[in-house]
């Protein structure tokens, strides 16, 4: 494979009431963050089936973010607690099999935390850049690093 600059793709599932609002605020405040972030607006962090996270990684995302309201602030009362359990399951499965579990990130970002949103996106992209491309997207393919 030729060496070229690694430009990661990070799929973000952001809940409608908090993290998406924070992303809005980051936008209206013109706080720049890397174009690697591909936001998807969902109603609640608990809308996101863990299989969606895994699927995004398999489809070619180098990482995924699940953004929800802070504990206790969920618009649907307990959605974020349920989401946290699902993320724990996904991360544990990945880690257990020797995959890089930091490719799934769970963050609580409230609607007024636009700057925090931008900060997390920046920091996470930097982190993933250092980490390099994700292994998971080449699962069941002939590409990526050679499998002996």
């Amino acid at each position: 494979m030729t060496e070229k600059k690694f430009d990661p793709v990070i799929v973000g599932f952001f809940c409608n009431w908090c993290t998406s609002a924070a992303a809005d605020l980051a936008g209206t405040s013109r706080l720049h963050y890397p174009a690697s972030i591909r936001p998807i607006r969902v109603m609640c962090s608990s809308t996101v089936d863990p299989v969606y996270l895994v699927r995004a990684l398999q489809e070619g995302a180098d990482a995924t973010i699940l953004g929800g309201c802070h504990p206790g602030d969920c618009h649907y009362i307990t959605g974020n607690y349920k989401a946290r359990r699902r993320v724990a399951i996904v991360k544990t499965v990945l880690k257990s099999l020797g995959f890089d579990d930091t490719r799934v990130l769970l963050e609580w970002i409230s609607g007024s935390e636009g700057p925090k949103f931008a900060r997390v996106m920046n920091e996470y992209t930097d982190y993933i850049k250092k980490r390099g491309p994700s292994d998971f997207k080449y699962l069941d393919s002939l590409g990526g690093e050679k499998v002996d």
Binding site: A26, G27, T28, A35, R38, C44, H75, Y76, G79, K116
Partner: protein, 847 residues
């Protein structure tokens, strides 16, 4: 349809305006700031990070948009109120906003050409004040820029609701001016917009503190405030401790004022987490090195949560309108919000020290009281339009708003790509294009749905496109404004197009409801709720073997606190007579309850009835033994608020342990000193609560009080998000009065009013609040395991015993999608967000 003037912007008035509009009345809202939020509410003053404001404002604006019933005037001042109820002439002056916040589309063109002060805000375009508006009116494509010329207006209204804003008392007397002493607001502000992280916690010297102290002056001379002061302090202290378990956290208190439902849990948790709580009798705050010494405890940083001050303008306002004050608070007729001047009402902090829960109760309970002057409201009729349905031949049209796309090269795989300068300004052109080209899936590449999402969806609907065939891509806030590239823009659009191709038609279900209300129990609140409801609902049942007597804790407002027992009895008897004339009294205990929101079946010895909504007001037994202002029984709720009123009214020499008085009682507290003794008034919830809770699947606390609308994290009483625009998530069950917690009759009035008014909104056939996100079950796949039932917070899902399959109650589904997430077999799905569509979307979005 009546017209009501609401003055002031507080949590209570936000809610009141929204509720009047929903009940079908016109509202004129006078805001003294340049925009809503400019004049800060109590919540903003106390805890600027709290989400209550955001929700309340969002609800207000949403209602204004939906009903068209609210007129806002900004920078306004009330001049004069003439006339009487049903016929007020109100004169006020106002100055228009330089940028009309309803019209502003957030394109930011004015930023380039005008002198703009910009305040970013969540859920909208942000706020702008333009200094040279006269010169740049034409800059705005949406014609939102207005010339700020002061005008005088005269309007006719049937009633006036006053809710001027609160201000905090000065902390000067406690040592403001010392280094590292801050108001709580300034302390909390350190983390605003950034989250609670160690790096933002700094002393005045810019160092990370080793110890942080909080001080709430409740119980000290001159203090007046609500329980919110201390719940906020405790919550913040716990959050600090969670952020950094090593941090030394102190709380200094003279009295513990956590008298709301379950609030003592905060105290217990604080003790458990190692927070030092110092019970102090006096306070001295002195500089001690870089930090301060509070009595003999050193802290590096001290935050003081001030009580409430009486602003001068409150006094002026009262004088101007002819409202009597006592100690700065408006006087009202017993157990109402109505002042001595008929037709003029007060709610919020002007009425009495008010926490956010109470504010929301008041903002709802005010409606039935004012309505006697307003006549019949005309709630807007909601209907579900029918659309063309074709799931198999998608023809995708992408509409790109240039304001959002800002010159990115759009290269996407759609049937049509149509670009417009401003989509939101030309809805008719969108409709035309859709019809001409035969488009049946629409992807809008525009701005945040919080801004024009609903409007664009409605535009598509006008062209016959069902909401579930519409996708919105937030090109502006998610891409062009934050440094995106063409790759990202096209990936986002292609993802939406791929999903649009798989979109299916979603039928939004309508649930027929029984238009009656059943009130279970004989509490005072049962009668008050019935009193309000009987005007509006054809049939109200009261199910109770007997009615409770009026008890000796009428309230903290002087008008009721000083009522004689005879007067109290008279008030109660006339209330009861009024209700008994028209309500149907079933003199039995409830035996079984089946059904759900819209259609409950309630069985009792000898019969059964149907009701759309249930109000639980089972009351409590009050035991009077000694003279002690008792704190807590076996649970997490202080009984002291009721007890301190008892002590005050009986005029006994009392003892107390945690708190002596509260709210307005602080002006002249009961005669009590620290000590122990037999309780003066112990509120004992009734045994029947257990039975009812079991029948309805509700939760009781340790003592047997009902949980209702509690904050989920701590389960304490606080206006949580459950106070949304929709009442449906309550499941058609409301709790009021002593069944909920120990409270005065005055507070019972607020809760009963909330329950009654909220019930009224449900006295119609219910369109599922989930809209296109309605959850459904695929019976072929459902194994009936019930995981979705546990996941559903609003009780919309249940397992049908007959065929062992999960079913949905559409009236209660809010579309969060938790069921679809947890379902292992993909049987529970949100059809507008099905795996098929999402998988297609993921494929494109990673490109």
């Amino acid at each position: 349809m009546g017209k009501v003037l609401v003055y002031g912007t507080t949590l209570a008035s936000y809610r009141a305006a929204a509720n009047f509009a929903r009940a079908g009345h016109k509202v004129i809202m006078l805001n003294r700031g340049e925009f809503l939020w400019h004049k800060m509410t109590q919540m903003q003053q106390q805890q600027p990070r709290d989400i209550m404001n955001g929700y309340s404002k969002a609800i207000l604006l949403q209602t204004a948009n939906l009903t068209g019933n609210i007129e806002f005037y900004h920078n306004s001042e009330l001049i004069d109120v003439e006339g009487g109820p049903g016929n007020f002439k109100v004169k006020f002056k106002h100055r228009p906003q330089t940028v009309n916040e309803f019209k502003c589309i957030g394109c930011d063109l004015c930023h380039e050409k005008c002198d703009v002060k910009y305040i970013p805000m969540p859920l909208g375009p942000g706020m702008r004040i333009i200094k040279n508006a006269e010169e740049c009116v034409d800059v705005c494509p949406a014609k939102a820029i207005q010339i700020p010329q002061e005008k005088e207006e005269e309007v006719k209204v049937e009633a006036v609701v006053l809710s001027p804003e609160y201000i905090p008392e000065s902390i000067e007397k406690f040592g403001a001016g010392l280094k590292n002493v801050k108001t709580f607001h300034d302390f909390a502000w350190m983390f605003r917009g950034k989250g609670m992280h160690k790096e933002f916690l700094k002393t005045d010297d810019g160092e990370y503190p080793n110890s942080v102290g909080f001080f709430s002056p409740a119980g000290f001379e001159g203090y007046i405030g609500s329980y919110e002061d201390q719940t906020i302090v405790f919550r913040e202290a716990l959050a600090l401790k969670e952020m950094d378990p090593e941090l030394d956290v102190h709380i200094f208190l003279k009295e513990i004022r956590l008298y709301g439902h379950n609030q003592m849990r905060l105290y217990d948790e604080a003790v458990e987490k190692g927070i030092n709580i110092h019970m102090i009798d006096s306070i001295s705050i002195t500089q001690d090195g870089k930090g301060v010494k509070v009595n003999d405890v050193h802290v590096d940083l001290l935050a003081i949560m001030p009580g409430q001050a009486i602003p001068e303008d409150w006094v002026k306002l009262a004088k101007n309108i002819g409202v009597d004050l006592e100690h700065g608070f408006a006087k009202t007729k017993p157990f109402t919000f109505e002042t001595n001047r008929d037709g003029v009402f007060v709610i919020g902090e002007y009425y009495k020290p008010t926490g956010s829960t109470e504010a929301i109760y008041q903002g709802t309970a005010i409606v039935p009281q004012v309505e006697k002057y307003l006549g019949e409201g005309k709630p807007i009729a909601m209907e579900i339009p029918r659309f063309e349905q074709d799931d198999f031949n998608p023809k995708v049209g992408v509409f790109i708003c240039e304001c959002a796309a800002q010159g990115f090269n759009i290269d996407v795989d759609a049937d049509y790509v149509i670009k417009k300068d401003y989509l939101c300004l030309h809805p008719e052109e969108i409709v035309k294009e859709i019809k001409e080209k035969g488009i049946n899936r629409v992807v809008f590449g525009a701005c945040s749905p919080a801004l024009r999402g609903a409007m664009l969806e409605m535009t598509a609907a006008k062209a016959g496109i069902a909401p579930s065939y519409v996708e919105l891509v937030q090109l502006r806030e998610y891409a062009s404004r934050v440094g995106a590239n063409a790759r990202k823009v096209n990936a986002m659009l292609n993802a939406a197009i791929a999903k649009a191709r798989k979109d299916v038609y979603v039928d939004i279900p309508l649930t027929e409801t029984v238009k009656t209300v059943a009130i279970i129990g004989g509490d005072v609140s049962a009668l008050i709720a019935a009193d309000y409801l009987l005007e509006k609902v054809s049939l109200v049942y009261l199910i109770t073997p007997e009615f409770d007597k009026v008890f000796d804790a009428p309230g903290v407002k002087p008008e009721v606190l000083q009522m004689s027992n005879d007067e109290l009895e008279k008030w109660y008897t006339s209330l009861k007579d009024r209700v008994m004339k028209r309500a149907k009294w079933i003199k039995e205990e409830v035996e079984a309850i089946d059904g759900s929101l819209g259609n409950f079946t309630i069985k009792y010895n000898g019969g059964e009835i149907n009701a759309g909504v249930i109000i639980i007001a089972t009351g409590a037994d009050i035991e009077e033994k000694g003279t002690h202002i008792n704190s807590r029984m076996d649970g997490d709720t202080l009984h002291s608020s009721v007890s301190s009123i008892y002590a005050k009214r009986k005029g006994v020499e009392a003892t107390y342990d945690l708190m002596k008085s509260y709210s307005l009682l602080d002006l002249a507290p009961p005669n009590a000193k620290k000590g122990e003794g037999e309780p003066i008034a112990l509120v004992k919830p009734r045994e029947i609560n257990r039975k009812i809770a079991e029948m309805l699947g509700m939760k009781l606390d340790k003592e047997g009080f009902f949980y209702f609308a509690e904050e989920p994290r701590y389960g304490i009483e606080r206006a949580s998000n459950q106070f949304m625009l929709f009442e449906e998530p309550f499941g058609g069950i409301f709790v009021a009065g002593l069944a909920h917690r120990p409270m005065s009759i005055e507070e019972e009035m607020e809760e009963a009013g909330f329950a009654a008014q909220s019930s009224l909104y449900l006295m119609r056939d219910i369109i599922s609040p989930a809209g296109k996100f309605i959850s459904v079950t695929n019976p072929r796949k459902c194994a009936g395991c019930g995981i979705c039932v546990d996941a559903c917070f609003s009780g919309a899902r249940y397992i049908d015993e007959e065929d062992h399959i999960a079913k949905v109650r559409p009236a209660q589904c809010v579309g969060c999608g938790a069921c679809a997430n947890v379902c292992p077999s993909g049987a529970a799905i949100i059809r507008a967000y099905s795996p098929t569509g999402v998988f297609e979307m993921l494929k494109e979005v990673v490109k």
